[in-house]
Amino acid sequence: MQCFSGTRRWALKLAAAAFAGTLAFAAPAQAEKPIKIGFSMALTGGLAAAGKAALIAMEIWKDDVNAAGGLLGRQVEFVYYDDQTNPSTVPGIYTKLLTLDNVDLVVSGYATNMIAPAMPIVMSRKMVFMSLFGLAVNEKFNYPNYFQIMPAGPNPLTDWSKGFFDIAAAQNPKPTTVALVGADAEFARNALIGARENAAKAGFKIVYDKTYPPPTADFSPIVRAIQAENPDVVFVASYPPDSAGMVRAINEVGLKTKLLGGGMVGLQFAALMGKLGPSLNGIVNYDFWVPEPTLKFDGVEAFLKKYQEKAPAAGVDPLGYYLPPYAYAYLQVLGDAVKAVGSTDQQKLADYIRSHTHKTVVGDVSFAPNGEWATPRALMVQFQGINDSGLEQFTKAGARVVLWPEQWKSGTLKYPYAQ
């Protein structure tokens, strides 16, 4: 008896607290109150390494904006909660942001799993939703006010690996067979779907198409099974631990193929690049930003300098080329829209973002109707001339040369992939 009334009392208390909350927020607004931007971010759990790096970048943006006088003359403030890399915390967080914290703007947390659960809530309030590295989230929701900053392109699943297969198809003699291998998880499976399509389009014969589960401790059986099919091209879609395992196994087994790489997550991170060192040479992999002369956009170096000062203390990626510039840029797009529109009117913001090209630290960004980048810019870079495990070499041009798209090309492919 006691206990059940306890439950009821708890429910009443919650209800009362919520009621009190709404009362408090009904109070008349002050003239100069800050602009609040709300989001969830993975600060613990599996995605936390990226989530924390993103947060640092976002705070740099906030400091930059506030130092320049804020938005609409108001200071910018963040309201954010740790989603623990647990999607079931996300709906609650966004509801709280929108109903109790009364934020003016929302942006997404990091990655597909944490973005999708926020969509119905954001959609029901018709908010502009800037999204950070969601892979084809909007395909199911078709929400017009969704804008995604990862430069995968309007058809993210296929555009992702398009560069890789374009490069393969351009070689002479043209390779004929391709092996596809990837992890049993969200991104890798989706990347493989796209790769399959691109391979078929380019007229390659798929001779191996398998996935492996986490945790796979030893990749050499997989690499040997691939070698047994003797493919000209090997497309790998893997997560950081498996990317490292894969690279090591490939070197140990001595995989003989002509083009290798594609969608290996992790080879963009300083921790892995440094340790894997020379064994990376020759791999052609996707990336979003590398310090090549063709990609020196306005402000990116100043941003990275600030980021690299803060990164060691937080224990996140010390170079920060991969995600942080984009975490800065997605707020830049939103902030510039607020400035241009002159208010936080969500519909006007969405219209502005959709119809303009935005100058950001990751270059000029314009969005397709589905909220993805209008033109794909998932770079294909090749590791070249890596001598040892020093990090320094990755901060200079020439270590990861851009091969694709043509517009950003900064070097030539070393072909075939040599051991």
């Binding site: 599996g46 040997r224 140990e252 340790k275």
Partner: protein, 288 residues
Amino acid sequence: MLDLFLNAIAAGILLGGFYAAMTVGLTISFGQLDIVNIAHPAFIVLGSFCTFVLHEHAGLDPLLAGVLLAPAFFCIGIGVYSVYYGSFERRGDESLRGLAFFFGIMFILEVLLIMTFGVDYRLVETSYIGESIKIGVIGLPFRMLVPFLAALAMAGGIYLYLSKTFTGRAILAVAQDRLALQLMGADPVRTKQIAFGIGLGTAAVAGSLLIMLGPVEPSVGRLYIGRIFAIVVLGGMGSIGGTIVAAIILGVVESMVATFYGPSWSPAVAFGFLLMTLAIRPSGLFGR
């Protein structure tokens, strides 16, 4: 085709050796002492991170670091067992609450690691990682060979200790008959403390092997829980030799499935194997 087959077997055996290193501590604590230490993989990951620190800042070889860490882990083990004994075993309700206790420890360890090291992946690089030797058509990478040999050495050492020394034999006896042990003049609690300490000591070494194999992040231990418990059961709950054989069987099965059928089914095959064993021959492959 024969190349592929032989290599799959070889890779499986090496992988099995690594699994054995991860499992042998649990064979002692779970198999022999009946302590369901579900936090064992979390301690292994702790070992990996300590190895990483010693390797990065003192330049120690990972395996050497693991061996040096083992005594410290042994002491932690004695402490953990003392709490466990005082709170559960003495009261005679170790099964339910004891399990929950280790579940909690596992979570706490994970979070402490995240708070100290962040969540980035860590890995080590030594001169022999990346090299391999060739015997005929079979290639044996040192990255797998070193853990395999270390596991064999460790398991062999423990086997000798258990069968040749007084304390070792007391450990084997404590699970069977406490009273007889007391009559022999050995303190069962002290004996179990030492045994549990040894179990955790192996986690330090296994941790150094884990980080040698590939990148480690704080919560990776969870992914191994099922596998290593399966090996203890398959190995017949407490037999060191059985553990090694079971680990190697599991390694070979996984490697064969990965090579010839498709790697994504390998855990299901391994666990299906375990479920079948439980249903048909519950005492494990080498049960007493």
